[in-house]
Subunit: 253 residues, 6 copies
């Protein structure tokens, strides 16, 4: 384990219980909970899952920062060196963590290829997020690793990207990511939870999901969204009663 | 039924016969028919279906116009009010109509979420089109409602969007939409038919589709597109004969 | 066969052996081989396959160049003429070749529709690439022809595009394409191989793919990418030994 | 005077005293004052003054909303009609007001030309803001009317723009504009003040400008920005003293 | 004189009388005249004059087409060869003509530098238009040659641009340009007149300018634009009378 | 002087002789010299000088890196703290250096305002470069400090930008900037010279400028650019002779 990773232990730990909750909520639910606390800019915009049916992404952030490449520093020879931080990120990103790549939005070269994805998968990393793109996208998809990108960016990394730092605060797709912040990704995209808020956000987001299950039943039964969604004090009381009653089936209307 | 909806009855009626024809034609066929009448700007550009296999979208437009949000007016509290026009649109869009959302191209916040989509589906609305994007996209897709957007835009609506008017003329994805204009959406995207032309456009577009079936048979049989597609007077006569003959199988070449 | 096509015989011939090799390699492998020869700008950026599961695209380029339309020249009537170069391209693109369309990035009108795609398919053309977009995308996909575009662009061609030249050097999606250059397209996108390098590039790219199969086995077995990928002289020797030994299964770790 | 204008008298009145204050402050000063009240999205982004040296823009908003043109409605003949709302806006925008044009960001056609600008100038209108662009820019500049746009957009208006409504809430360059809101424009761009806050914002912004004059003197004298800018309670006290002392020259360091 | 230039004599001749008229009209006037003939797409969008106060641009088009560069063909050594078409364009563009550069919108490298501009100026070329950008912009401006571009693009040409053809039909900034078409550029931008229409367009545009002078006097005198601009049959008759009367001063209102 | 600045003394020293040379050359000359050494990506693209007539920018880079703001960290209160790195950059950027701001291309908030510019000017800083934009642009221009930006971005910094690091390698407008690299900015834009190459690049660029003076005289005298520009061995010998002869006036042709 590298010194860098050791220095930010926050990145490696996410309570199993919290992770389980976050596996059940949508990124939009999380964003709502954060908005209620005044956080308006938490959804990475413009990113798409690599595969439509990839698993939910949950994990604390471990970051890699790229800057533009320079021809004398970013040769293929230098790329193969063992101190190359792009390659170190693949070996040092902690199991369970999400590798978050600040590619400064560059689609000129690849943020990751299939060999790297296979290695991350083997090492137990939870997923990868870049504001650039990947190469070998079909093979990455085959690994089952949940990955997010803007669009494919197949040229070789050193053509445009120089890896300059590991596990420091970065921006990714317009959102601040501090090491250890927790990312949740679904079909909609990826949301970032400030690390000190993860537990309470997970609780509230799960609660919102459960309320939405209740609301969905009523909507399927023909009820208006007024007085139901968003929740009102009255509908909330009704929900609590329904939960207390063991979540019975609704009488068909 | 709200006064607003009552005021534009055009929005609610689309002859079943016409609807059936439009369910069989492509948006590109419709665009061609309109081009022949001098309409060059009828395809909404840059919109994609939410799901690859969603049903064909057909229906008259009922519109919702957003403007940028302002923090004092667009709180979550105000969002929950019963006079919020975003929520009213969900309850007032007539069954059979298409909800057309002018989000002024904003991808900063959501034009609709899954609870709203479920309610629209239940109410018999034909589909939704926005020049922004949605949240809860997987759940919206699960409703089966045909929806079009630029890309996912999961942040909460009041972060960036203020609903300001219902059922008035709007622009959406670069095309003028007047209440009651008829939208047709397929894999290619969405085309807008001025309401006074719907019947004749449906007829001509269906005719074009049937001619294309004829042309496709010949192309599969090895015939050149010259003298066949686009149709010439001669190929058209040949087609009429073939139709008169009961659309027989072609002799294999 | 037209004089134009005759004048560039390079476009019609691609050694079967070379084609077979290129059917097995990724566009990113090809790009790497070209980078080693100093070619940095060979991947068309921003293009996507029309269908996720379409076959690999391989073939020499036959080009069509569009310029912006002008109303007096680009009427629907003129579009139907037999000297229209868009339609001529469909009939004259040699079997086995790839039709490469320089639409100057325009998404205002269609680079191709389904009738044209069906004809190309019937004529044995290998695929189509445009830096614009198509109409009738679902029907094109049904032909099985591998096609690349930016996104759907369904308006009728003459609204925005005038076909001005066949089989001359063009730019497409930011890459130079000379007639006879060989294109390889997969899920990542499309790469262009200068025609005089095709054989050696095919050999080296296939070699890289085979080395990656070896590396993938080791990664699946828990080995670090350091000293394995990219290849080092030592790992390369190890690979050669493994090949000589008949590519045996790895001992499980 | 039209009924429309009569219905929104807020648009026509701006206290002379308030106007004078706003003529002395920067748009950035105003934005800061609004930020302190929780308004984060008040600066129109991406707009530039037509002329570098045009006068400061100050005035309440009178709005014009465009939607995309449609060939049958937006002929040159219809453009010349007296009920054309684009032309009505030129005659009905109240003296002293700013004509704010929501062109939905379209640069395909002109939001205004020189004849219209000359008429607005003659009628005493304070200026024009569009999120599209103008034609005849040199001649508009010659009128001296302060105008903002994205960039020149010289094609004739009916090619792309249909005027659909006057003096209703619109979005312009990403900011909500309600009739009567007050706009302030300088070299930086244009800021929008919600109408109910105009007086207090003018006061505070002018106060900020006066404090900045004080800070500028100290900076010119070699003082650090720490403890000076942004103001601290201590520096603020020092400023008050200095003002009380009649704003004496600083002792040279 | 090169064979290429000889082959398109249309490029070199523009009647002095016609040129003089076009020196007096705005690009927007020309666009209006062309719109009346059905030409909607004649203004190059997004181009700006290099210098605010450069002279009016008028002249027939001589074109240069670039495609993306390729490292083996576009070395600095090859750039210096006498058959390089970029350099040939500088020596062969006919005096009086406008060099129109199709740089496929690339801002990655320079369409022209100051030495080239000085040579063109010396040779009597009327100006330069590119849909890319220039280097040495201050020095180009000093030559007095009217030039249009998107924005500065200072990297050396061979980094991104390969000159592939002279004096053939091209697209530039979204508009078709055929050799010999006449360009008119002012502060607003550049308009393209199909060559067979130049004389009548010049006449009508000049007429429109003269009518606008009349309208401007009335507007300055307080008259409404209704019934004055655009012209009506009545205002047109009034104008004719005024002209017949020797364009007298208006009575002050 | 802060520890950070002390740690990168390269940032503060630029030989006066080298600086003087670089004050005389164009950014394009520098880019050419670097291209000859294999550096293709050295010009910051899309940046413009704040003022047309600002002095040449020359100096070693001192960097500030922003990431996206987060509401709890980027309050106005926190902005005023003495450990805020944005404000520290203003006080710690060494005299003679250029402050290079990596704003990750954000135009949502200001990279600098007039008070900061005045302080930098007073402290002897050479200029400022951002890939975002400024507020108070007129007042910044009045300081005379050469500044580059994309376009004005007047909202308050903490709305979108969080200052995260000083004097580390960053990307700015697509170019890698290492502390101590030397920037040269003119009307065209800004070029970055790797610090170990500054002396030789300055020499060669100045030589190129002097050769261009020679070429310009010949071009003004009617000579073709062939055999003159770019220089050939023969023209170079001719130039050397001319220099040896004391750069005499050319005989008029």
């Amino acid at each position: 384990m590298s010194a860098t990773a050791t220095a930010s232990p926050a990145a490696v730990e996410l309570d199993t219980n919290v992770r389980d909750k976050l596996l059940k909520v949508g990124s939009a639910n999380v964003a709502n909970v954060l908005l209620a606390r005044g956080f308006r800019n938490v959804m990475m915009l413009g990113l798409a899952p690599l595969a439509q049916d990839q698993p939910q992404l949950v994990g604390p952030a471990y970051t890699l920062r790229f800057i533009p490449a320079r021809e004398d520093l970013d040769s293929m020879a230098n790329y193969g060196r063992t101190d190359n931080k792009h390659r170190r990120a693949i070996e040092e990103c902690p199991p369970g963590a999400v590798l978050v790549i600040d590619a400064f939005g560059s689609l000129q070269a690849s943020s990751m290829g299939d060999m790297m994805a296979a290695r991350l998968r083997h090492r137990g990393v939870s997923g990868v997020v870049t504001d650039g793109g990947y190469r070998d996208s079909a093979a990455i998809e085959a690994t089952g690793l949940p990955c997010y990108q803007v669009r494919n960016a197949p040229p070789a990394t050193p053509i445009a990207l120089h890896p300059v730092a590991l596990d420091e605060p970065v921006g990714c797709a317009g959102v601040a990511v501090y090491p250890g912040d927790v990312l949740v990704g679904d079909r909609d995209g990826v949301v970032v939870i400030p690390r000190h808020l993860v537990e309470e956000v997970a609780d509230e987001a799960l609660d919102a999901v459960e309320y939405e299950d209740f609301a969905a039943l009523h909507i399927a039964n023909g009820r208006s969204i007024f007085g139901l969604f968003p929740a009102t004090p009255e509908s909330r009381a009704e929900y609590d009663e329904w939960v207390a009653a063991g979540r019975p089936e609704l009488e068909k209307k």
